[in-house]
Symmetry: C3
Subunit: 371 residues, 3 copies
């Protein structure tokens, strides 16, 4: 009996359907208020979640590769170097980097350094009156040599501690102003950027399919008139970021070239285009004078006839351009639409790849097919 | 009275319990439908949220370090250079990079350049009949020098504007085909990749603990037979990506070596292994001939006996290999299990580190301990 | 009539308000339990979602630029090189990198290499008794030359196969121990890091506004006493990561310098500070001796009086320091507060920028204005 009662209990527990009892209020005022609240919630869901936050879409972030090629020649005329021409092999150091390139704009050059003994550059810790002021083995913070313990004449008026170093030591107290390679302002750089969205296996490059070779040979990026030309004038990059190239060239700095790919893959293939923006990444540090700007030391090594090594030391000031690629691709989340879409954009890719249609790029027409 | 009424009101507002009145429908049809809908929701939550989207797990992304070492020697025999051997110090430029390495495959070399005056490379803007065609101070887009205003003989038939430049100027009109260093196809590279998941303090490297030194000395990556050997033949990397090394070597390009670590840290330590895949990152650009492939200019500087600087200019074509490390680690979100797990995988790490068991790697057995 | 009935139906469907009928249970026990459960849910929402997970805040990740500058001089005295001084242009290779810098700590140097014929370094595959053991055109795995087919004397006791290579070939069997440039332990590096949170247009740098130039000239990072000094002793970086610099200097390795910016932008501008941590990124690989540590080959090229090219080959061991910048910024999600806040932190930025107040940094006072 108990078991039979339990079975019936279980049966009713599983198959009985309990639902709240509903009171129907036939008041127009209450009814209107109820619907208004419901409409508000609906509007929020559609407006905010779907339209604004794009909650119905699937996201993917970008995989990118960047190569760059700088062009330009500058002529300098100084007493130390005479007339000298500088081309890309001279001023881009190192010759290739992954997502960046460096262009020399200013230079302190110290030629014919050999290892030996010479007076150190006079400063607070190296100026001396006698050998008692110099400590053998001591390395001053700003020195590039080891003190020998002697006090020798640096020039006719000043004596400084002798060091064992690459001699003569560099004198970087006077930085050329205006910058030694101020002509770098007119150098140009071709940036090639290929992107790939792994989740959607969608790839594109910043040389758009409708760009012709002849256009590429003559174009120069301009935010208004040539927003898709991948060739940039260095001076324009800096001025677009609101900085002065002439100022920046003296002490050096770091510039960011941002390439943004925000692609709604439900739209046309030709709508997925790069947007360039520029930004100074280091701060000008007006309030600190410890190592402002950007510089590093590089050397070229030589051997003379007697097999003695010498070097030309270069304290290189310049602008490092970091190329930062951002991007997201979105696709309708609905699986059925997604399947359909995949074929569609593949088709589009095929269709649009070799069409040269400038209107597609420069125009700002309404997006036709909003699914 | 009013206050007392308010108190009672408040009391009943706080402690009265309002619940919807329930109607119990004893219909088997309705009951079954109700349960089916509930089962559907349950199946969705468990199937989609938990099993498919792994909503119960905690994620972490990877911190990675990559070093690479290329090996290989090539011999070339050209009229300009004679018989010459190329080793790693010659063809990897710069000698080290952070997450990439570059291997020279083709080369246009211009030896013994010195600063001076010489005829420019003839093209549309530099060919001249008389000095009137040349503008002093003009820098042609493709030139590496500044025009002096003279028109001089480039060879017996052609005259071109004289430039002040590194002379003689580079002639890059003819690119060696097949590529100068086509033997680079057989060079190998050892890639060392260490990963770390900060949230779980889990680290591993791509030289797996069960790999012996003798195996490392002889193995070569093969997707089928040696999927965990960290030594790659450059030719195989390119062909795995569906490209031809011989073609790519001529103009250069950018290859991506993708290392994917998707680790379910609830599983065995030995199940967390790298998966390699390869992809050409630049596009072949069949429809554009402006600066296709990948090349840059690099120079070696010399000084002769009279202290005059000369240089060897190299227009270096080659393949840059970008190593891209992706990865996520997942762990059961349950805090208790997590605590327990932490010790367990630590124990496993200790236990499995020095065991050399090839089966663990190559086998494809079912995951035994799914908590 | 039917239409009129339909209209009334529709009207009542739209404007009738259905609500569950409520049963009011006037039981104190049930009422208290009900409120307790509600309080629990409320506590969970506020405590977990808001306070712990910070669900009310908007996040943003960091865009960062890093430059570094190494300082230090070392003197070495070896039979091969004599007394020699090493400065930054000698030991940092390449001279600049994007988010990393490399410091040489050990060196195998092979001077005056020229292309020619010489005996290969004897090992299992190159030791020979007669020319029959050597295969013309064969390239041994560890060799840097092509065998000519001859068997020649390497030294008085050993014969090895002759190779066409850069001669004499490098002998890297004996690695200097202690490391050649063990003084690198005392070198220092100034790291300049600028960050930017694009969503909030908030930027800051690791040289904090209250740091004076004189402090920067003398300070040295110390986790306890100078946690915001951006100048690091290389030896300290390695020891903070729990490694021995002397050991690491011999074979080389990869160190990670992590800079973490976790900024709650609702707090004071001066509370958003960098946290430094250090970590060895490669593993010590005690159980593998194939290419442990970190090294690469670099060469300096010379030309002698007869225009014959020679080179100095350097097998450079050293430590690559990868600078990894992490960071998130959070801001109250509430739009009104956000608008208000934007002005406020702008104001703060202005206000605090030029104040030099050490207390702000070193102190650990309570956050005053928690909105």
């Amino acid at each position: 009996m108990a078991s039979r009662g339990f079975c019936r209990e279980l049966y009713s527990c599983i198959f009985d359907y309990s639902t709240p009892r509903i009171a129907l209020i036939k008041s127009r005022k209450v009814g209107v208020m109820n619907r208004l609240i419901q409409l508000g919630i609906l509007a929020y869901v559609i407006g905010w979640v779907f339209v604004w936050e794009k909650g119905y879409q699937e996201f993917d972030t970008v995989v990118s590769s960047v190569t760059s090629k700088v062009k330009g020649v500058a002529v300098t005329n100084t007493s130390a170097l005479g007339t000298r021409i500088w081309d890309v092999a001279d001023y881009v150091i190192p010759p290739q980097e992954e997502n960046a390139f460096f262009v020399m704009t200013n230079l302190i050059i110290t030629q014919n350094q050999t290892q030996g003994h010479c007076p150190d550059l006079p400063d607070q810790s190296t100026i001396c009156n006698s050998s008692h002021d110099c400590i053998p083995g001591f390395i001053s913070t700003h020195s590039f040599g080891v003190q020998t313990g002697q006090c020798v004449a640096y020039n006719e008026t000043v004596k400084s501690c002798e060091v064992y170093a690459w001699c003569p030591v560099e004198n970087d107290t006077e930085l050329p102003e205006p910058a030694f390679l101020k002509e770098a302002e007119n150098f140009t750089v071709l940036i090639k950027n290929n992107i790939w969205f792994p989740k959607f296996n969608f790839s594109k490059r910043n040389i758009l399919p409708n760009v012709t070779t002849s256009y590429l040979k003559t174009c120069l990026y301009d935010r208004m008139h040539n927003p898709f030309c991948p060739i940039f004038r260095l001076g324009s990059i800096v001025s677009e970021a609101g900085e002065s190239f002439r100022d920046m060239a003296i002490q050096g700095g770091v510039m960011g070239i941002q390439i943004r790919w925000d692609c709604d893959l439900d739209k046309k293939f030709s709508k997925c285009v790069p947007r360039y923006s520029f930004r100074r990444l280091d701060s000008r540090e007006l309030d600190h004078n410890v190592s402002p700007g950007y510089n590093f030391r590089s050397a070229k090594y030589y051997k003379n006839i007697n097999d003695v090594e010498s070097r030309t030391l270069m304290k290189v000031y310049g602008i490092r351009f970091d190329i930062l690629v951002f991007g997201t691709a979105t696709v309708l989340c609905d699986v059925i639409v997604f399947q359909f879409f995949k074929k569609r954009y593949y088709y589009r890719e095929k269709k649009f790849k070799h069409v040269e249609d400038y209107d597609e790029l420069s125009g700002n027409e309404e997006h036709g097919s909003n699914p």
